[in-house]
């Protein structure tokens, strides 16, 4: 590759001036002539039979256009919500979820009616007048009780509450355990989390009956996916269904599926023959947007006294919620990565998906990998404590060291240097000095702790060879690169940006690869009307898969430009040299043409014999493998034993995401990611009443999202181990921070409390809970 100027440059994000000056274009900014507004009436019960719905008072209220219930929608929406196989092809049951409940509501917040009115105020007022006669049924809330035979059912038409039960055996587990000096067990929880994007969900549907055409503006990570399913259910072909999703104020995994309201608003637009807007308010968002995690792991590890890890057995109990999330079973990937970055002789994992009367869970930043990292990194520390070895040394002893490495489940780790990142993090935090200080402070009755997280994660989803069998879809990615006659470049992509800075990163790649000025490159995404089909953005895939699709189109354009240059210089194509956008005949760099000149020629007269006009290319990229970022985070905390309050003194991270296109964008992703993981470790927890299924954390007053003030300074550093999987040598970084960070904090807290004999701490490590543990330990 030529000497590059933009790839690797720490330039500011081109998205930001628009966003921070209030010029973004979000869903609530979309206003159409004659637009009506939708308010959703939701079940207040976690589980109830719907005896009857009386809409007459609402219908008579001021400004009401229509009040619609399931029966009205059945005539318009042709089928249930989609569910992918993702990792559990043989699900035990996939109950159908129609976008609106007809006779039985299975979670608090499930839609039971909608009101369409002239404005949102009137719609909300009328929604209060819809009278639903409910017969409350028992709420199934506890995962283990839900699995018992004879348990009350989450929905009365189901045989039991088990969604899947899948075993992942790898290696001779009995032999591995037979060799062990120590066998240790631990239950490790993963509380439910709200993804809490700053922009809640919302959509505007504009159905034109005259020619069966529809435009749906929606806040999503996956516009093409929405078009496929919502268009399909409404009987509108892709050619006539346009999904637009420009600026999106955060997704975090909670916006990667079609949602009931997208179907309902579109159907309501069809029924009322008016554009319909629905904006989710925060209260609704906490009830009716998919949640993350919600898992319990029972783990058993076999190890030798010298620190060698031998075998691992664990069961993942996953709280599906009332219905399968579209990708909920993706989180089973935790089973395949449970061994982390260590060599194990055998691993036996099992995942059981359990239905409860709660909102569905679905991927949330990290989706399965934070859980895997949390469990293995916790277990390694538990082993270290038991055998009296430094946690860093247990890690060092067991690291995978040769790459590519095929893990117990046949997944191939592309490249890595785990020891290097740990050594670097230990040097950055000055580990020996920190341990010494810990000892001094303990003597004074102060409790500090140091926590490690050495992680590896799977991202860049994904190769069709793996994703098609596992998820039923080939997660390839697309691009279209078009060089206009005067040289500016439009790049349309099938990925979708909602905070990641793609417009900047992708333009940097295109500028270098085509050799054109950065400012001449426009990146377009989020409008199915002018982008090629793509699967959207999640699973840290946009650069490693989508970026490569862009590269592929750029290469095609350069190839054609070379032909044009050869023609112009009357030389043979082999003699054309391309150097940073200048095309010349070898040995004669003084006489060169830039891409803009060749583009102009491509649309003009006198093209080479047989060449088509224009300078553009469309490409699809199917990666040969996933990519495997890794790194080491170390956290230093102090716990106040009297109040249980935790303060983070240092947070050091060394991450390796392969080659870096824009260091500032990467650092930004790490900041946000680490903050979300720390937040899970210390603050966030969706709480429901165990009996009634009512949500107890229904406002942002009770659900704690920390702010900048609660975050430590992040001391970031990186190593660069390029991925051999793609030409850019890149991996992914959108989720790495979250995957690594929760356990660094929890391990640090557990280490701080070691003098009390406390061996394990659950999330969130609330002060009152830590205080109770200390009190019990002291007693």
């Amino acid at each position: 590759m030529a000497v590059t100027s933009m790839i690797g440059a720490r330039i500011q994000r081109r998205e930001d001036p628009k966003l921070i000056t209030g010029h973004g274009n979000f869903i609530d900014d979309v206003n159409l002539v004659n637009m009506a507004h939708m308010s959703v009436v939701r079940s207040p019960h976690a589980h109830a039979r719907i005896r009857s719905i009386d809409t007459s008072a609402a219908l008579a209220a001021k400004g009401v256009v229509a009040v619609l219930i399931a029966a009205d929608f059945k005539a318009v929406i042709g089928g249930p919500l989609p569910v992918t196989n993702s990792f559990v092809p043989d699900k035990k049951q996939v109950p159908e979820q129609f976008p609106i409940a007809a006779t039985e509501a299975a979670y608090a917040g499930e839609p039971v009616a909608v009101v369409i009115a002239e404005d949102r105020y009137l719609a909300d007022d009328a929604a209060q007048l819809v009278v639903v006669d409910y017969e409350p049924l028992p709420a199934v809330m506890d995962l283990e009780k839900a699995m018992e035979p004879g348990s009350p059912l989450v929905k009365s038409d189901r045989p039991d509450n088990i969604g899947w039960d899948a075993a992942f055996p790898a290696g001779d587990i009995d032999a591995a355990f037979a060799e062990a000096d120590v066998v240790l067990k631990q239950r490790i929880g993963q509380q439910r989390l709200f993804p809490t994007a700053m922009e809640t969900r919302g959509c505007v549907a504009d159905y034109i009956p005259y020619d069966n055409r529809c435009t749906l503006w929606t806040s999503t990570q996956v516009p093409h996916f929405i078009r496929l399913f919502v268009g399909g259910a409404l009987g509108v072909p892709e050619s006539q269904f346009r999904v637009v999703s420009h600026d999106v104020g955060g997704g975090f995994g909670a916006k990667l599926r079609p949602y009931p309201e997208e179907y309902l608003a579109t159907a309501a637009s069809k029924i009322t023959e008016r554009p319909v807007k629905w904006i989710e308010d925060r209260t609704e968002s906490l009830q009716a947007t998919t949640q993350g995690r919600g898992q319990i792991f029972d783990v058993e590890v076999a190890a030798k006294r010298d620190g060698t890890l031998l075998g691992l057995k664990f069961t993942q109990l996953l709280d599906i919620g009332a219905y399968h999330g579209v990708f909920s079973a993706f989180q089973v990937v935790a089973c395949l990565l449970g061994g982390g970055c260590y060599d194990f002789k055998a691993i036996h994992a099992r995942s059981i998906g359990v239905f409860t009367n709660r909102m569905s869970t679905d991927p949330y930043r990290g989706a399965g990998r934070p859980e895997a990292t949390h469990l293995i990194e916790r277990i390694v520390d538990i082993v270290a404590r038991e055998i009296g070895m430094d946690p860093a040394e247990v890690r060092r002893k067991n690291f995978i060291t040769t790459f590519p490495h095929t893990n117990n489940f046949g997944l191939v780790y592309d490249s890595g240097e785990y020891e290097r990142s740990m050594d670097r993090a230990m040097a950055n935090i000055d580990y020996p000095a920190l341990r010494k200080r810990q000892e001094e402070l303990r003597a004074k009755g102060r409790y500090t702790g140091i926590g490690f997280s050495t992680y590896v994660e799977i991202c860049g989803v994904g190769p069709s060879s793996a994703t098609a069998p596992a998820a039923g879809i080939a997660l390839v990615e697309s691009s279209m690169v078009r060089v206009h006659p005067s040289g500016s470049v439009t790049v349309s992509v099938g990925t979708h940006a909602h905070g990641q800075g793609h417009e900047t990163t992708f333009a940097q790649i295109v500028a270098d690869t085509l050799g054109v000025p950065y400012d001449s490159v426009e990146i377009r995404h989020g409008d199915t009307g002018d982008t090629p089909f793509g699967y959207g953005t999640y699973g840290s895939r946009s650069l490693a898969v989508g970026g490569m699709a862009i590269m592929a189109s750029c290469h095609k354009v350069v190839d054609k430009a070379k032909k044009l240059a050869a023609h112009a210089f009357e030389a043979s194509e082999e003699d054309i040299v391309v150097d940073q956008g200048r095309y010349f005949v070898r040995g004669n760099p003084g006489e060169a043409k830039v891409l803009a000149e060749l583009a102009f020629a491509s649309y003009g007269a006198g093209l080479p014999e047989g060449m088509e006009h224009g300078l553009e290319a469309v490409s699809y990229f199917d990666p040969p493998n996933f990519v495997w970022p890794f790194g080491c985070h170390i956290c230093a905390v102090e716990v106040d034993p009297e109040t249980g309050a935790v303060s983070i003194d240092r947070y050091v991270a060394v991450d390796d995401c392969g080659n870096v296109i824009n260091p500032m964008v990467v650092d930004g992703q790490l900041h946000g990611g680490i903050a979300q993981g720390i937040s899970q470790a210390l603050f966030e927890e969706v709480q429901y009443d165990d009996e009634t299924g009512q949500m107890l954390t229904g406002t942002m007053l009770d659900y704690l999202i920390p702010t900048m003030a609660e975050m430590p300074h992040f001391e970031l550093d990186r190593t660069v181990t390029p991925s051999p999987t793609n030409e850019l040598g890149v991996k992914g970084v959108g989720e790495a921070g979250t995957i690594a960070s929760s356990i660094a904090v929890i391990n640090a807290i557990t280490d701080a409390l070691a003098p009390f004999g406390i061996k394990h701490v659950e999330m969130p490590a609330r002060p009152d809970r830590l205080w109770s543990m200390i009190k019990e330990a002291r007693a």
């Binding site: 007022d125 308010d281 109040t643 007053l701 704690l704 003030a709 609660e710 002060p767 009152d768 109770s772």
Partner: protein
């Protein structure tokens, strides 16, 4: 997240406010900064039929010091308290509390009259008013703080009563306030205020019962010469916390004791 419909009026005087409240009846409410009322209305937990906005009334934004008292107008905002030179001298503990109320947006709108009238046990100023024997001045009478806070979100105010000012005794002795919370802009999970007045100490508790509480037992122990730690051990009889999604009652009791000792130590060390 959208309020129910309501009437809106903006009187120019306290008398006019009172007659509007009478006119609209029991379901009308005064609105000042709206920082407690509007969140409740948006959740439709409160659905007043009319709002009487007192922001247009003159004379409720002053801070006046006379003799041994400082009188703070009901519409004085948290941010005004933070920046007020008189208060910094005459009642510095209030300034310290104001610094930590909510976030900038809340401090720019919320008023001291609103905190008092709302009667929230978690309102920091309410515990201070109670422990310093402040007076709550309204269009109808003067309430002693000790008679004012009746129950959870319930005060001695009548329906057509408007708080016009709060009168605190000038308090220039040593003081400290500890607000235990998870996030910088949160309400207190538990708060402890201590103020030296003459030769004795006053103690107040935030969010440790259904109403603000005075630490009478702790005060007595201190008057009897107890150490900070020993006096703090008495805090249990001054409070009556309940558990919630943030913390158990048991923990709050423990916290009250730890924070009482620490706050007293902080105040005496600040000498």
């Amino acid at each position: 997240m959208i309020t129910a419909a309501f009437e809106y009026a903006r009187p120019g005087s306290v008398d006019e406010a009172q007659s509007l409240l009478t006119k609209y009846g029991d379901d009308a409410k005064v609105i000042a900064g709206g920082q407690s009322l509007i969140p409740l209305m948006r959740l439709r937990l409160s659905q007043p039929t009319a709002l009487v906005d007192i922001q247009g009334i003159h004379g409720l934004k002053e801070v006046r010091r006379d003799n041994g008292s400082v009188e703070i107008g009901a519409l004085v905002r948290h941010v005004d308290i933070q920046r007020n030179a008189t208060l910094r001298e005459a009642l510095p503990i209030l300034v310290e509390m104001a610094n930590d109320v909510g976030d900038n947006q809340v401090r720019n709108l919320g008023t001291i009259g609103g905190v008092i009238a709302h009667g929230d046990a978690a309102g920091d100023y309410n515990a201070l008013a109670l422990m310093l024997d402040a007076e709550i001045v309204t269009n109808k009478r003067r309430h002693k703080a000790s008679d004012f806070f009746r129950d959870i979100f319930t005060t001695a105010l009548e329906h057509d009563e408007v708080v016009t000012a709060v009168r605190f005794p000038v308090s220039t002795g040593r003081f400290a306030y500890t607000k235990f919370r998870r996030r910088l802009y949160d309400w207190a999970i538990a708060g402890v205020a201590v103020q030296e007045t003459g030769s004795s100490w006053r103690v107040g508790y935030v969010n440790l019962a259904r109403t603000p509480r005075r630490g009478a037992s702790v005060e007595r122990a201190l008057a009897g010469g107890a150490s900070a730690a020993d006096a703090a051990a008495e805090s249990g009889s001054d409070i009556d916390p309940t558990g919630d999604v943030r913390a158990t009652a048991e923990y709050k009791r423990h916290l009250a004791q730890v924070l009482t000792a620490r706050t007293l130590e902080k105040a005496t060390m600040a000498a």
